[in-house]
Amino acid sequence: MLRAKTNFVYQAQRTLGNIDVFGIYDRLEKENIMLSFKGYLSEELLNSILAIIEEKMTHFNAEAKTKKRVYNVLVECLQNLYHHSMADGEKKEQSIIVMIVHHAEGYSVITGNMISTQDVENLQTHIRQINSMDPEQLKELYRQVLNNGSYSSKGGGGLGIIDIARRSGEKLDYGFVPVDEFNSFFSLNVKIPK
């Protein structure tokens, strides 16, 4: 319903302090972002994000299979971020970013976090290897790592990204940004087609 025009004239104000509130809202809206969070990822928050997305997706007209894939990918992505921020046994309380996007072609789970610059090469090699594989090769790699891989005390251990790639069925989109002498920002976009 359109409201009648009012004669009241006001000054447009989109920026409060240094923050362009309308700009941020407009970007999130135009990019079809269902949920966006930036900050420290606690276990409680991780649980809340999973619950929110699961609830939101019940209202979407997508196949059960697709919804399950989104949920599975989100679990792996969030737990990767969570374990990474707990590395060395102590909480680093580092801030991360996670966004879940719902667009015409499907869903995207986008994450970003700081990693040590000396880990960039290994991670890049790992993802390039995964991206070079077809579904049958990914299945073989998964089985091989599951059966022979060494595992961290938390379980997992190298299976996460392979599992994500299998469920996505698309190439992993990723990037690195140098931040300072020791740290780089790693971003990952996992697409789940409808």
């Binding site: 196949e63 059960a64 599975n72 679990v75 737990q79 089985r143 599951l146 379980g155 997992g156 599992d163």
Partner: protein, 129 residues
């Protein structure tokens, strides 16, 4: 045989566990997506170690998972390896892997285990709840 039975209620992140040592029926059902699966499955594995000493002639494990994370996948493999050991010891062991009809990912996950473990996995479609 006087094997203690274990029953653990399911939670949004951990599965229901029911291990009946007298009947030889084992169940893992629900969601298995904890941050630390090793901790959760430790009691299942130690129960299986004790059960393996005096197993029932026939053991049936039903796996009815809606979701599981990669942290759980190695723990599940450890469970199946214990049962594989039982079979090598001469016991009759049967695993039923349940999946929802349209959930080809869960079916494929069962096939992953079937390819690694020397036990027959019976793939069963879950009844609508």
């Amino acid at each position: 045989m006087n094997m203690e039975s274990i029953k653990v209620e399911g939670t949004p992140k951990t599965p229901e566990i029911a291990l009946d040592g007298n009947a030889g029926t084992l169940l893992i059902s629900g969601r298995s997506i904890p941050e630390n699966s090793v901790e959760f499955y430790a009691k299942v594995l130690s129960w299986l170690d004790a059960y393996s000493e005096t197993p029932c002639p026939k053991t049936i494990l039903d796996v009815k998972l809606e979701y599981f994370n990669t942290s759980s996948s190695k723990c599940l493999l450890d469970v199946f390896k214990r049962l594989e050991g039982l079979k090598k010891g001469g016991a009759d062991v049967h695993i039923r892997w349940f999946y929802e009809e349209d959930d080809e990912d869960m079916l494929e996950a069962g096939e992953d285990y079937d390819s690694i473990i020397d036990l027959d996995f019976e793939m069963c479609v879950m009844e609508e709840q």
